[in-house]
Subunit: 354 residues, 3 copies
């Protein structure tokens, strides 16, 4: 049985994930073989906050498959803002189309949308919660570039405290055998304890260092991320630290010949432009693999499902999510739903612990 | 001879209207049979005010027919706003495309556009004047859901004083035999006298009631509309009345088993969410029928016409429209045109009486 | 060897330019023969400033060729504005697509984009610098309407001091034999000396007059342009002059029977609406020829090139462009590049003399 939506990458079995990344690899070799795979299919991109890059990656993916696109990306200027609920918009647009891609500033919005959609839903980012196709992008890139997704030494550098991207990648790569992690950050921006506990629980090794130089010689993969100035209460601390976490040619010299440097983009100044010409810089090709990954995902979700009504999780009328950023706070008609996890009950939308 | 544009639904003969709704019904049963009906045809959507829902319905319709789309929906932010006249924009875009869909905040704009377009023009709403494809949506829905468009008892509830949608639907349904109407509203928001006179002139019966409950047992169709807070000068009156015109499960219990509940959407709170699961709630399927109606209309308008120059109505150089919201007030080069009606001379653009 | 990008129309040989205008003429006669010429090709329109007309012309052109489109036109509202460099955006989008069209408010931006694009780049306007597809539009129109591009007496009227369009058209038409020019403007808005010197250098004749009436009887072509109120420091001077440079039916009576009136659009009030019905008014058909010209250009650029990496001009590390509006001032990672010209060294991006 296949997943009907992609809300959370962890909802896919490892076999399903491998099927999708395999297909993405095949597409990357012969994109033109897939130019009619979604002929006469229509995708709506519901971008409740603008994200031009992500939206254009999905649009390119669908168009490259011979499909068609509609959507919005600036709801503040449109009638969608005139008080229509997420439910109503999703029902109407899922009637017009064959697949929905939703980006929303509120946590759990994609899961909420999937309750009402007659067609598959892809989560293109729901606030600080999840962004599964970014992680899919990273996995497809490693599969193609490193040639494998296991037995890798993966460095992660920058703002590890707040980075949804690196947290998600950690959880995903922990599912493959033999991966280990090196976290490169200041103390303030260190990887949160719950991720480290998660890795330990999966039997993954990790270490923490304060400089890129210490880690560089051992890495198969270096995943760079932005450090946002607004994360620092003390501007002096920001100024003192920022150069430490900038990748340049000098630091690249310490890396292995087959190192793979990734970045979710956009970069600001955490990778010097001189690194772009280094053959180990894969962050631009990474966006191409992202498009191929999205193509594989769209084929998968649209090819085996008709316009069926999804099953709703069992209701939990007494459960009230404590997360103020949860979609249930802004869309009050949503049914109260919870999930049992090893660590206790969580909100079925945003996964916040009660 | 076929209509070349769709500016006003009443310009279609009942036979033409039935042809379009028949085709919409056939499309709704086998949409894929029509997936190449407009191959290589290009539609421009000129939305001088944003209306994401209407625009996406037209876009989906065209794409589902194998056609292509260009357009704008936020002219304030674009160069269209830099002083170009409606005439010039329409001439240029009708040169690029095969059909234009225009939405404009000023009354009569679609008729004005049709004077200069080399291709068919669809009115997607011109201020408070007309919105013919919404009425087409309603007729197609009734044809499919109620199985007929005559001999229906049609309830209309909410703001009947200001609702362009309900006025237009009254006029249209009065053309079919044996329909009668029940207007459900407060005194302030009652159906205007000229609509009631129109119905009487057509031999249609109507009654007026103050509550949904009174009407409910007799209705075949209940057409719900929004009550906008800003229509009330007295906030207490708004608060006192709003609950009366909210449809909920309790009121639904009074309705017939084959009642059909419609709403032009977006709803705010005039239909409780609990009603959505009632099988008599057709307002979401209504949007789908709207897409099928637009598909039929686009096929009809694009299939039998080339790029011909439309005939202009005869000029009436002394006629000056008295309506301050008329397109002739903002586009001064427009020729002065009037129409003779049984009630006297009216503006050919906005139909305002002189 | 074919040009890979279209940054500057003067980079095309006259033979290449004629090939493109020939193809545009063939397309204008049988557009449907080209409806699959770019099947499965994808164009991105990167509009860093809104220009709805130009963007819709490119979009129509690509769609009419069976191609597909993505893009943005309001980067201020999108994530492209979140600090991403032109380089990074261009690399990513050229990975997704087969051809890029770029519009940018800064001079030299299109040339800068071409350094990093893996696919052909079309300059759709870079600040006050160049707008080659407007000039291509003009040449295709003359080829079709006047039947030739040489031995024409070309009048240019309006703001000749600041009009990028007329400067570019002068330079282009000077390449063909026997064209002469009549510049119709106030002293303040006269054609700049460097253009007149250029024409003299090419062996072209020109004269300067103060009124349309003086020139009218001699013209084969009258190219009208806007006079922008903000060009005048003295409002009285603006008011005194503006009527002089308005084309109306009375002035048209002085023109030859086969005169061809052009305008780059949008017009404001420099051509009276009454002129629109004169058969010598070609400014609306001009936009259609613009679309055909863009279709020819897209076919040409996409048909004979794969995703190859362009050659970078040789670096000139000591060269710093003195133009404060040059793209090198806002994108500091750009390599310093210069060109040798007969008049000395110029910036390779914006062609400003050092």
């Amino acid at each position: 049985m296949l997943a009907r939506n992609l809300i959370d990458l962890n909802q896919l079995s490892l076999e399903e994930l491998d099927d999708i990344t395999d297909m993405a690899c095949r597409i990357s070799r012969h994109p033109s073989h897939y130019s009619s795979a979604c002929r006469d299919k229509l995708m709506a991109t519901l971008f409740y906050e603008p994200s031009t890059r992500t939206q254009m990656s999905f649009q390119s993916a669908m168009l490259r498959l011979g499909g068609k696109i509609i959507g919005f990306d600036n709801p503040g200027a449109t009638s969608v803002a005139k008080g229509e609920s997420l439910k109503d918009t999703v029902i109407v647009l899922s009637g017009y189309t064959d697949i929905l891609t939703i980006r929303h500033p509120v946590e759990g919005a994609a899961m909420a949308a999937s309750l009402y959609s007659g067609v598959p839903v892809i989560n293109a980012g729901d606030g600080g919660h999840l962004h599964p196709t970014q992680t899919l992008t990273d996995v497809v890139t490693l599969r193609n570039v490193a040639g494998r997704t296991d037995r890798l030494v993966i460095g992660m550098c920058g703002d590890l405290a707040n980075g949804r991207t690196v947290h998600s990648l950690c959880k995903c790569m922990a599912r493959y055998g033999g991966n280990s992690f090196v976290f490169i950050s200041s103390e303030t921006l260190a990887m949160p304890a719950y991720i480290k506990e998660y890795l330990t629980g999966c039997g993954c090794q990790y270490s923490e260092v304060r400089t890129i130089e210490e880690a560089m010689p051992y890495l198969d993969v270096l995943y760079m991320t932005r450090i946002q100035r607004e994360r620092f209460t003390d501007p002096d601390e920001y100024e003192a630290q920022k150069g430490v976490y900038v990748l340049d040619s000098k630091k690249m010299r310490l890396g292995k010949p087959d190192l793979c440097v990734l970045h979710p983009l956009p970069r600001v100044d955490e990778i010097a432009y001189e690194v772009d010409d280094d053959p180990r810089a894969y962050y631009f090709r990474q966006t191409l693999y992202g498009m191929y990954g999205r193509m594989a995902l769209i084929i998968r979700l649209t090819s085996e499902h008709g316009h069926c009504v999804p099953e709703k999780p069992a209701a939990d009328p007494d459960f009230i999510c404590a997360n103020p950023k949860c979609i249930t706070k802004v869309e009050p008609y949503l049914p109260r739903l919870s999930l049992e996890t090893p660590k206790g009950k969580v909100c079925a939308y945003c996964e916040h612990h009660s």
